[in-house]
């Protein structure tokens, strides 16, 4: 059971940097991480060569909850470790992990422009996908985004 061993190993090296753990599926662990600890967690995983960063998913919990959740999915064979970072919707700032793994840059650019999250220290924050004439205050993947077709393109 390499999958389980991988996940347990991740848990053991990250133990004190995380706040909580859960196992939503047999091949998945979720680790809840404070934004301040994110870079340390990613560095630990990187130095341990634990899998690779498969994706960064940004979730909008909606204006009522007032939170964004950013998920960092790491994959090692069948094992998927998801780092869940919750940030304030009113002040959406995340530390960038590009200093540890440069290839996170496109993921951070995408998440940043779609949800309006600032990744502090990301090397390139130019829009990756949005059109040049897009209204800069409209973030399309926010639940309360008003997309009437006038946002600068067909939304």
């Amino acid at each position: 059971m390499t999958t389980e061993r991988n996940l347990l190993h991740a848990q053991s090296i990250l133990g004190d940097l995380t706040t909580d753990w859960s196992q939503p599926a047999p091949d998945r662990y979720d680790a809840f991480v404070q934004p301040d600890n994110l870079v340390a967690v990613v560095t630990t995983l990187h130095q341990d060569r634990w899998g690779y960063l498969a994706a960064i998913t940004g979730l909008d919990k909606g204006p009522e909850v007032g939170e964004f959740e950013v998920l960092y999915h790491f994959c090692a064979d069948a094992a998927v470790l998801t780092l869940r970072v919750i940030i304030d919707r009113a002040d959406p700032v995340m530390p960038s992990i590009c200093g540890v793994m440069l290839y996170a840059s496109p993921y951070e650019r995408e998440t940043g422009e779609m949800l309006g999250i600032t990744f502090a220290g990301t090397p390139d924050d130019a829009w990756l996908f949005l059109p040049d004439d897009w209204q800069s205050e409209v973030f399309p993947l926010r639940k309360d985004a008003v997309l009437n077709g006038n946002g600068g393109g067909d939304a």
Binding site: Y103, Y107, F129
Partner: protein, 401 residues
């Protein structure tokens, strides 16, 4: 160019409209003479906001939307989505449907790799290989058409199973086509690994060793050409790959040549795999019942697209529409490596290095380009095809062999 300030940064833009790119993307390369100094990327020229659109469509409607993210790997997008939603709904898909999903996926891989071979050959100016490989691609498209009625958007998946079965006659047609494709693929493998002029353009060009490949998060055939042993079909088997493991293909040199060889050898494995699947198609129904509402929760679905790992994150809050679907396509993983790979290379090699990762901007941009004729004249496929042959036959040549 005349001002001294510009002299240091002579930027050659590639895209959004450029003959090297079959899809829009923008790359700016700063060159000194013919040598590239730095590169930057801008995408999104084909962005349609499909992720946002999924949030206002039902689970079933989304299948058709997501399938249209990409024109080449449509089936694998639908498969990733179906697997994820089925996981959430805790639905067990019958084994025959699983096998057919893998079958179509491998045919799609052959289709995609042949397409890539042509494009990559064209980038290097080897138009004969381009023409030949695209001619042979017709064969695999015909096979897919025999199975599903469509050449590009096969639409083989439904939530809880597949739409199409394979009968004995179709299996025979598929085998016949595969024999031809195997012969051709072996020939191309010989061409790319022995043609000395072509080798000058591929050997030791754009080299990425294993360490660099791992550090830059490269996946799929691009990674496997650098001996990065990642293949979701093997690492986290889905569909039929659990019962029938696939033989992975690795190369060690990590140059453009290795990327050619890996993809061609993968075609051969796919051909073998399809033959094996046809021999061992389990007997079972094709679909199972799927609830209209999907239980709350989140699922991660990973599949091996022709270009590498395709990652779906699906979140449901118990309704008949998803709360969030996030698609991470293989190109997004690999595109960062291009910007590093091209530095120090000749401008002439840039298009090949770029194409070496088999980028798919449509996938990346989550778009669909739907061509619709002004008038809808119902022609069946045979008629359309005959029209094409007649058209070119009478208009352009009398001696069409």
């Amino acid at each position: 160019m005349t001002q001294p300030a510009n002299r240091k940064r002579f930027t050659v833009p590639i895209g959004p409209q450029h003959p090297a790119l079959k899809e829009p993307g923008h790359f700016a390369f700063d060159v000194d003479g013919e040598i590239v100094q730095s590169a930057s990327v801008r995408l999104g020229y084909a962005h349609r906001g499909i992720e946002k659109a999924t949030e206002s469509r039902t689970w079933v409607q989304n299948l058709y939307l997501l399938e249209r993210i990409c024109g080449i790997c449509s089936h694998i997008h639908a498969t990733a989505y179906c697997l994820g939603v089925e996981k959430l709904a805790q639905v067990e898909v019958p084994p025959r449907a699983q096998a057919i999903r893998s079958l179509v996926a491998e045919l799609e891989r052959i289709h995609s790799h042949l397409l890539w071979l042509g494009v990559a050959a064209h980038e290097s100016g080897f138009d004969t290989l381009f023409m030949y490989s695209w001619r042979d691609r017709e064969t695999v498209m015909n096979i897919l058409e025999v199975m599903t009625g469509n050449r590009v958007h096969y639409s083989a998946n439904v939530l809880g199973g597949v739409k199409y079965d394979v009968d004995d006659q179709q299996a025979a047609t598929i085998r016949e086509g595969l024999d031809f494709l195997e012969e051709r693929t072996l020939h191309y493998l010989e061409v790319v690994s022995t043609d000395s002029l072509f080798l000058q353009r591929t050997r030791n060009i754009g080299v990425m060793d294993r360490e660099a490949a791992q550090l830059s998060g490269v996946i799929g055939p691009t990674g496997r050409a650098s001996n990065v042993q990642r293949d979701v079909r093997l690492d986290s088997p889905y569909a039929a790959y659990a019962d029938h493991p696939i033989t992975p293909v690795y190369e060690t040199t990590g140059d453009l040549l290795a990327r050619f060889v890996v993809r061609l050898r993968e075609q051969l494995t796919s051909i073998d795999y399809i033959r094996m699947l046809l021999d061992h198609l389990p007997n079972s129904p094709l679909t199972t019942r799927m609830p209209r509402r999907v239980k709350a929760g989140e699922a991660i679905s990973r599949v091996e697209a022709p270009r590498g790992e395709l990652f779906y994150y699906i979140k449901s809050n118990g309704g008949d529409m998803p709360d969030r679907i996030h698609v991470r396509t293989p190109t997004l993983c690999n595109i960062a490596s291009v910007a590093q790979l091209v530095i120090g290379q000749h401008l002439a090699d840039v298009p090949m290095i770029l194409v070496g990762i088999d980028p798919c901007f449509s996938c990346n941009d989550r778009t669909s380009v739907i061509c619709q004729d002004g008038q809808r004249d119902m022609w069946d496929w045979a008629r359309l095809r005959q029209y094409g042959i007649d058209h070119y036959g009478t208009h352009y040549t009398k001696d069409l062999g």
